[in-house]
C-alpha cells in the first residue's frame, strides 16, 4: 500500500510539474546568433538525414548544401518557395505550380502536376507527402484553402480540412500528429493522422505569442529530439513542450521576422534560421529530430 501511494504521488507530481522545459534546456549561456554567409540570400532551409543544411535562394537561384562548414551546389537553378527532406532520402521542393523531387546528382522529377498553388509541404516519417494548396480540387470545389494529401505511390488526393490560411507544417516524431500553422487564429493546430492518412481531432494546441494588431506570421516549424516544437514567427522562435505549453521565445537575430528554421550540423545541435533573407546559426543544447537518417541520393 505504501509503495502504491508513493507511485501515485510520484505520478501526480510528475504530471503536474516535471514536464517543464524551460529555454535554459535549449540555449547555451553566452552563445548567440552568428551570420553564416552574409552574401547568401536565403528563401528557405531544411536539413537532410545526415545533418547537412539545404539552402534555397528563391527565384531562379541555386540550392546549396552546407556540409562540414563549406557550401556545395545541390541544384544549379530552381525557384523554391518551400522544401523538406524526405526520410526516403531525397529533397521535396515546392516550385511555382508543382512539387518536385530532387537528388544531388541533378535528377529532378515532377511529382504532382495537379497542384495549382502549393504553398507549404511536410513529409511524414513514413514518407507520405502533405501539402497545402488553394486550388479547387474536385473533392471540395468551394473552399478557399485546404490541406490535401499526396501520397507517393498512392492513388489520389483525399481532401481533408479547411483553414482560412495555413503556414508551416510538421509531423510529430511518431507521425501520429500533424501540426499546421494557423496564423489567423494565432495558433498551431494539431491534427491526428488516421490510418488512411486522413486528419481529425483538430485543436488549437499551441497558442502563439502575437504582436498587438498582428498575427504571429508563423511560416516554418521544426521539432527537436525531445519533442519540443519550434515555430519561426515575427516574434522570434517560439518554443513549445510536447503538451502544447510555451517554453519561451528565442529572440530573432535581427528585427526582421524569422521566416525559416532547421536543426543541422554533424550533431544536429545547430539551430539555423532565416531572418530578413539572411542565414544565422547558433549552437544549442538540443538535437534536431530526423525521422530516418539517410543521405541524399
Amino acid at each position: 500500500m505504501m509503495r502504491s501511494s508513493v507511485i501515485v504521488l510520484f505520478v501526480l507530481t510528475a504530471t503536474m510539474s516535471a514536464q517543464d522545459m524551460p529555454l535554459s534546456q535549449v540555449l547555451i549561456p553566452g552563445e548567440g546568433w552568428r551570420a553564416v554567409d552574409p552574401k547568401l540570400t536565403v528563401a528557405c532551409i531544411t536539413a537532410d538525414g545526415e545533418g547537412n543544411l539545404l539552402i534555397a535562394g528563391g527565384k531562379e537561384a541555386p540550392i546549396w548544401l552546407l556540409t562540414k562548414g563549406s557550401l556545395k551546389v545541390f541544384a544549379k537553378k530552381a525557384s523554391v518557395t518551400r522544401m523538406c527532406w524526405s526520410p526516403k532520402g531525397y529533397l521535396l521542393t515546392l516550385e511555382k505550380d508543382a512539387i518536385y523531387r530532387r537528388n544531388d546528382n541533378g535528377e529532378v522529377k515532377k511529382l504532382l502536376s495537379e497542384a495549382k498553388f502549393p504553398f507549404d509541404i511536410a513529409v511524414s516519417p513514413t514518407g507520405d507527402i502533405y501539402f497545402t494548396d488553394i486550388a479547387p480540387f474536385p473533392q471540395n470545389p468551394g473552399s478557399r484553402a485546404r490541406i490535401c494529401i499526396y501520397q507517393v505511390g498512392g492513388d489520389g488526393l483525399p481532401s481533408l480540412i479547411e483553414m482560412e490560411e495555413t503556414a508551416g507544417m510538421v509531423f510529430w516524431r511518431d507521425g501520429g500528429t500533424l501540426v499546421i500553422g494557423n496564423p489567423v487564429a494565432g495558433a498551431l493546430n494539431a491534427f491526428r493522422v488516421g490510418k488512411d492518412g486522413g486528419l481529425d481531432a483538430e485543436e488549437e494546441y499551441y497558442k502563439l505569442r502575437t504582436r498587438r494588431r498582428s498575427s504571429s506570421k508563423v511560416i516554418s516549424l521544426t521539432l527537436d529530439a525531445d519533442g519540443r516544437l519550434y515555430a519561426a514567427t515575427s516574434e522570434g522562435v517560439q518554443v513549445f513542450d510536447p503538451t502544447g505549453r510555451m517554453c519561451g521565445v528565442i529572440n530573432a537575430p535581427t528585427r526582421a521576422p524569422v521566416t525559416a528554421l532547421a536543426f543541422a550540423g554533424t550533431a544536429r545541435d545547430q539551430m539555423y534560421v532565416v531572418c530578413g533573407g539572411k542565414l544565422y546559426a547558433r549552437k544549442t543544447k538540443v538535437k534536431g529530430f530526423v525521422p530516418v537518417a539517410k543521405k541524399a541520393k
Binding site: 500500500m1 510539474s17 507521425g175 485543436e203
Partner: protein, 298 residues
C-alpha cells in the same frame, strides 16, 4: 588531569551552550495529517464509486478519458442532488492518498455538514494515436489551462447530461461545485468564471494562476469585472513552484488580493507545502464544509 585542561573543557562546554542558545532553532517542518473526517468511520454509511465507460468527447474532439461517479448512500433517487466535479478525477476518487473525496463526502453528508452531493471525477482527455504503438496527444494542459468556456461547455453538453440520465441532479449554479489541483484548479475557476450560471462553487488546490496559457491575467480581470456569483476556496503553499510559467505562491496571493478587493465570497489558505496535494488533501473536509455551507443552511 591538569587544572588547565579541566578549565578548557569548562570554557568549551559553556560556549557551546551559549551558541546553542543564540542559534535560532529551525522551524519544524509543517506536517499535514488527515483528520477523522478523511478516515472511514464504522458507523457512517458508505457511498459507491463507479468507474464509467471511457468517454469520447465531441467538444474536445475525439479525446478519450476515464471517469468515475460517486453516489452517497443518502441519495434517494427523488430529490435532486448537488454535484461536485473534480479534474484529475483519478486522484480525487481514491479512498487512500491525499484527497479521499468519497470518504470525506460520506462523513460530512452523514454529519449534515454537506448536502447530498454526487461526485463526478474526470481525468483529462487524450487523443489516442490512430497508429499502433503511436503516442497519443495529452490534452490536459489544453483543457485545463486555456482561458475559454470550452471545458464548461464539455461539462454542460456532455458530462452532466450523461450523469443526469441515471441520477437527479440540481441544475442551479448554487447546487454545483467544481475543483482541482494545479492546472485543474485554474480550470475550476475558469469554468465558474465563464459560466457562473452553471457552477458557483470553486475549489482550487495549488492552482496554476500562472502563465502556462495566460492564466496569470485573472487577478487583473477580476478587479475590473463586475463581481460574479462565485464562492471560492483556494489553497496554496509557500514552497509551491517558481518556474518558467510563474511563481505559484505569488500568483495565488494576487488572486486572494483581487478576490478581496472585489469583495468575493472566498477563503484562502496559505500553508507551507509545495506543489502537491498533501495540505489540500488534509483540508478537504474543512474546504467542503465551508464551500457547501450555504446549501446546508437552507
Amino acid at each position: 588531569m591538569s587544572r588547565a585542561f579541566v578549565w578548557l573543557i569548562g570554557v568549551f562546554v559553556a560556549s557551546s551552550l551559549v551558541l546553542a542558545e543564540d542559534t535560532p532553532k529551525p522551524k519544524p517542518k509543517a506536517v499535514y495529517e488527515h483528520g477523522p473526517d478523511s478516515e472511514e468511520q464504522k458507523d457512517v454509511p458508505r457511498g459507491k464509486v463507479t468507474k464509467m465507460p471511457a468517454w469520447t468527447s465531441k467538444v474536445f474532439a475525439d479525446t478519450v478519458r476515464d471517469w468515475w461517479v460517486y453516489v452517497p448512500s443518502q441519495y434517494d433517487g427523488k430529490t435532486p442532488a448537488c454535484v461536485m466535479v473534480f479534474q484529475d478525477g483519478q486522484w480525487y476518487q481514491q479512498s487512500k492518498g491525499d484527497f479521499r473525496v468519497p470518504t470525506v463526502f460520506d462523513n460530512l453528508i452523514h454529519q449534515g455538514k454537506m448536502p447530498v452531493t454526487i461526485g463526478v471525477f474526470l481525468n483529462p482527455g487524450v487523443v489516442p494515436s490512430a497508429k499502433e504503438g503511436g503516442k497519443g496527444r495529452q490534452n490536459r494542459s489544453f483543457e485545463y489551462d486555456t482561458l475559454s468556456d470550452q471545458y464548461a461547455k464539455f461539462l454542460e453538453k456532455e458530462i452532466l447530461p450523461e450523469v443526469a440520465k441515471t441520477y437527479k441532479l440540481r441544475t442551479d449554479a448554487a447546487g454545483r461545485g467544481i475543483g482541482g489541483i494545479s492546472s485543474g484548479g485554474i480550470c475550476a475557476f475558469t469554468v465558474a468564471w465563464q459560466r457562473p450560471d452553471l457552477f458557483s462553487k470553486v475549489l482550487s488546490h495549488v492552482g496554476s494562476f500562472t502563465n502556462i496559457r495566460g492564466g496569470d491575467v485573472y487577478p487583473g480581470i477580476i478587479r475590473k469585472t463586475e463581481k460574479k456569483p462565485i464562492r471560492c476556496y483556494l489553497q496554496d503553499g509557500t514552497k509551491d513552484l517558481d518556474n518558467l510559467h510563474g511563481n505559484w505562491p505569488l500568483a495565488n496571493l494576487q488572486m486572494e488580493a483581487a478576490l478581496k478587493f472585489k469583495k468575493y465570497d472566498f477563503k484562502f489558505v496559505m500553508g507551507e507545502g509545495g506543489h502537491n496535494g498533501k495540505h489540500g488533501g488534509v483540508l478537504m473536509p474543512e474546504s467542503m464544509e465551508w464551500l457547501w455551507a450555504p446549501e446546508v443552511k437552507k
